[in-house]
Amino acid sequence: MHCAKLAVVSNSDWLCVQMMKSKADEEDYWNSSKFKAFTFDDEDDEFSRLKESKQAVNSIRRLVEEDDDEDDVEKVSWSGEPVGSISWSVRETAASNQRTDREPTFPKINTDTPTLSKSNSGYSLSSLFKGKTKGGNFQSFNDSLSDLSVRLYAPELRKPKSEYKDYVSDWSPEETIQRMQQGKAFSLEKFRSLQDKLLLLDFAVSAHDGNVITAVLIYLKRTLGKEVLFRELESRQTALRHLIQYLTETRDQRLLLELLRSLCRTGPCTTGREHLSITDENKRRDFLKSCLSLPFSPEDSAHVQDHFTLLERQIIIEATDRQAERGGKVEIFQKFPRRASILNMPLVTTLYYCCFYHYTEPEGTYSSSLNIRQTFKISEKQYFVTALAARAKLKAWSDVDALFTSRNWLGFTRKKSPLSFQRVVDILQKNSAPTQVLQDYVALVDDAELRISLAQKHKCHDIVINTYRDLKDRQLLLGYRGKVERGSAEERKIDELLNNPRRRWK
């Protein structure tokens, strides 16, 4: 049993996510209409309307189908297109009914991939299949199961034909799946035993047709108790994933959640994510709080905890700031009106916001940027980048300067940055810093070549000139003279250097 379950549980992260998705609309389920029975009688509409009892339809269908088989021609296709229509001709060969035993032109390849999930329930396709060899249509599926199970279940495979007398037909599960694939009439109602149902499912899975797999699952969902269904799906990964996808698509959140819970009962994995659809921030906060108790993976639970703390924080800041903005007394909100609410924004955006509007606040307040940094353990680099961008945007150059200044124990100041100065220049430039500001930082770029190219790009002439001077490169300096403005201070400076007889050049 373990092996099979592991295959499922190993995806616990993924399941976790599925569960988060599903919980969201659980509520909705109760308001929505109840699940209705569904059958696969896909006769013409005329037929379905006339349908008084299953028997009646079934008997008609048998006639139709028998006719079909004899003529070896499809009269009406699944979509109800008459033979000879354009669409029929396009699909040409798709839906003919012949069961040829002629050699296929291309060989069959083995599409089974070894999976971890070997059935333990005993009702696996492989085990059932051994009892029956039919024209070699199917080659080996999985020979891995012991003969014991074969002996156990094989006799169940087919009841004597007489027992089916009242049924539509006696199409085997295999034939039924084939007919479903080809869009022909079929009925699933006669597959009532668990063995038959699972056989049907296993054949659908081995046919690799998701459409048919889902169709069978819909039938199983309707006719099997969910405990049984879930139990059997644990060892059938492909079918399981189809059911999850189907429940997700139909927004059957309640069942989906139950399914995921039952799969996860051995492992750490449950959560919710309905907060995404909750628009009211207070409800959202409460929901997140309820999530905190859920057994997330330790790493992710820290993220969810942070998310909760952040939202709590945002609610407080938003309320205060909205009031301040409306009051019209706080200058910064007048000068730079807020473009959007801070609610539900990512942490870094929140930090930026606080660096922008609340930079000078003491660390004790909720909206202080330093407090945010502390609470969420924001890395030095991240804090630096964000504060830099925010203060540059406000053109608060002294704040920018202060960010870099560190004092050593002798009291000397020097500029330090966790970010390369090249990047610093880039950020400042993007926030339209003036040349005077830019050149302070361009000058701090270590690599001479890079420094020159940055200086040229941002027109920091002094730096270019000084660098060439330090490189003792008269040619380059001479060349650069042509690039500065006539009669400018830069030109004079170059001339001075060039004309200074005491200078030594390369």
Binding site: W14, G80, S96, I109, T113
Partner: protein
């Protein structure tokens, strides 16, 4: 392209037949609902529909008004409604709402749903559940294949990728098989099929069964060989920045169904929609070129055009008349196209210099080479810290993970935490998806596991932890990129000069830095006529390779041109760069490739389909 092609390349089959068949079938289906009717079209079917029919075709068959499906109550007053949709539960539910609303108000109408390319039982189940089954008639429009160009055919099913590879839903497998079957019956019989990937195998089987179900016609084959490949065999290629013109245009402007919308930044006027295909003579010459060559080409072209115009000078009246009637129109057309592509190139340049494209490419190339990984990581980190494009950061993270066979646990946690801080905790779901697909994973503990970590692991996960990890690691796809790259020689040695004007191999599509894995596999298999000798490679790719010969293929082999026409089907999407690479390969080896893709993809589309934060 300046490159001289092999002269003996065979001609491509004519795929306009596919359009004609689709159009005829649609007309037939519309006629099944005689009389005036309003037609509701699913949004993502509009462009494909446009490629094969126009409004007058629809009007001719009594379509009165056209609406887009918008999941809102409808305003139509027609008593016959026709819905042209993809088989999606959401859309069917909406139609049920429409019909039930009519019922409630006592309004009688006739409804018809046309599913394309096929209907699903699950959709009919919805009709039944909602009590609408029988009130609507349903049909299938087998519009499987849309030719986007002479050598590109698309299934226009972008959801194929997510459904199949992420959700593990095989609903589109038969669709792929049917598409192949259609091509086989129109342009086959195929004589040889190669493939790699689980989905490819299943699609092959589905196709084979459909062939076996039907009758065989003997005809002269136009397409001889087929190669099927799953997108998850090669994730590296679609995650790289595209630098070939067509790919670059797709990355920046997004080509939709063979058509692109150039905004005012390109046209310096109002927006225009332009079809991009081989009919556009200017485009056709630059589409496969590395972007660095495009400017030179365009300016040469502009000069030629000027000369042609200048011919007018000194013409007499008669000469002028012939000039106007014969040449002027062509020149004007060329002029228009030229100025469009020059505008597009300028716009691309502007956008790319703004975001430090050069540095971005350098990082990508380092990742591909496995060089200076620490620097790459800090580059990505800064990207994230500065909240530069969410998708771009994700793309680099995935590229890092695939090329490095997963991130070290410490890096993984730190980058993930920073990513969530920058772009929102909702992306926890995105990370789970990426991990599930093997696109962004943590290296498996194993030897690198510290004592401390394993202790913590034990505390948290109890006894099952060990088994769990075992099960997971065997399930998770290892990318093995480094080993593959070495074996197939995907990354040329750095430092060698690569003349992008005279490409020497397919690596030119990535500035000479990387030969796309997908295309390299195709080249190798065609060369060897199978997978022999590639055993090590297929092992690294998780197996699932096959090469089969049809009974009709063995004898007619190599004689006719059809053997050199190769259909390559990408299950889960294909990029324009890959198409360019295959065109190059075709010219080198005298093949013609036809690319069939479930959709045209690129890094943004691929990753966007895996986001979960806005559902």
């Amino acid at each position: 392209m300046a490159h001289s092609a092999r002269r003996d390349s065979p001609e491509l089959p004519d795929f306009s037949l596919l359009k004609r068949l689709a159009r005829d079938q649609l007309v037939y289906l519309l006629e099944q609902l005689p009389g005036k009717k309003d037609l509701f079209i699913e949004a993502d079917l509009m462009s494909p529909l446009d490629r094969i029919a126009n409004v007058s075709t629809l009007k001719e068959h009594e379509v009165d008004k056209l609406y887009k499906v918008e999941y809102k109550p409808i305003t139509s007053t027609s008593d016959q409604l026709c819905f042209l949709i993809r088989p999606r539960i959401k859309t069917v539910k909406w139609i049920c709402d429409v019909a039930n609303a009519d019922k409630a108000t006592g309004k009688f109408r006739r409804y018809k749903i046309i599913f394309t390319p096929q209907k699903f039982y699950a959709c009919e189940a919805v009709l039944e559940e909602q009590g609408i089954f029988g009130d609507v008639t349903t049909d299938e429009w087998a519009f499987y294949l849309l030719p986007l160009d002479d050598d590109i055919i698309s299934l226009e099913l972008p959801e194929f990728f997510r459904d199949n590879f992420l959700a593990g839903d095989q609903r589109w497998v038969r669709t792929a098989g049917s598409a192949l079957h259609l091509l086989h019956s129109l342009y086959g019989p195929f004589s040889k099929v190669y493939g790699i990937g689980r989905c490819s195998k299943m699609a092959y089987e589905s196709w084979r069964e459909q062939v076996a179900e039907g009758e065989q016609r003997t005809r002269q084959a136009e397409i001889g060989r087929v190669f099927l490949i799953d997108r998850d065999v090669d994730f590296v290629t679609p995650l790289c920045s595209q630098v070939v013109y067509e790919g670059l245009v797709d990355d920046i402007f997004r080509i939709k169904c063979g058509c692109v919308e150039f905004g005012p930044d390109v046209t310096s006027d109002k927006s225009v929609k332009v079809m991009l295909n081989s009919q556009d003579k200017v485009f056709n010459e630059i589409r496969n070129e590395h972007f660095s060559n495009v400017f030179g080409f365009l300016s040469q072209k502009a000069r030629n055009l000027q000369t042609a115009y200048d011919k007018r000078r000194g013409m007499d009246i008669k000469q002028m008349k012939t000039f106007v009637s014969e040449e002027l129109k062509g020149l004007k057309q060329e002029h228009r196209l030229l100025s469009l592509h020059i505008g597009a190139s300028e716009s691309i340049m502007k956008k790319k210099t703004k975001q430090d494209f050069q540095e971005l490419l350098k990082t990508e190339h380092s990742l591909l080479e496995g060089f200076e990984i620490r620097e790459c990581i800090s580059f990505i980190e800064e990207h994230i810290n500065r909240q530069v494009s969410m998708i771009q950061s994700l793309r680099l993270l995935c590229l890092l993970s695939i090329t490095e066979n997963g991130l070290m646990p410490k890096d993984y946690r730190s980058l993930k935490a920073q990513y969530l801080q920058s772009y929102g905790v909702d992306h926890l779901l995105t990370f789970a998806n990426l991990r599930h697909l093997g696109l962004l994973v943590e290296q498996q503990p194993g030897e690198t596991l510290t004592v401390m970590e394993s202790k913590v692991g034990k505390l948290v996960n109890d006894k099952t932890a060990g088994k769990l990890t075992d099960a997971f690691s065997s399930l998770a796809r290892k990318s093995n990129f480094r080993a593959l790259s070495r074996r197939l020689n995907l990354v040329p040695k750095s430092g060698e000069e690569y003349d992008l004007r005279v490409p020497r191999d397919m690596a030119y599509i990535f500035s000479g830095a990387y030969v796309p894995l997908s295309c390299k596999l195709i080249e190798q298999v065609l060369e060897r006529d199978g997978w022999t000798g590639l055993e090590e490679v297929t092992k690294l790719l998780n197996g699932n390779e096959f090469a089969v010969t049809g009974s009709n293929g063995a004898d007619s082999k190599a004689k006719n041109d059809a053997q050199r026409i190769i259909l390559v089907m990408f299950l889960g999407g294909c990029t324009f760069s890959e198409i360019s690479a295959l065109r190059f390969l075709g010219r080198e080896k005298g093949y013609k490739f036809i690319v069939v893709a479930t959709a045209i993809t690129n890094s943004s589309r691929l990753l966007e389909s895996l986001l979960d934060n806005h559902v």
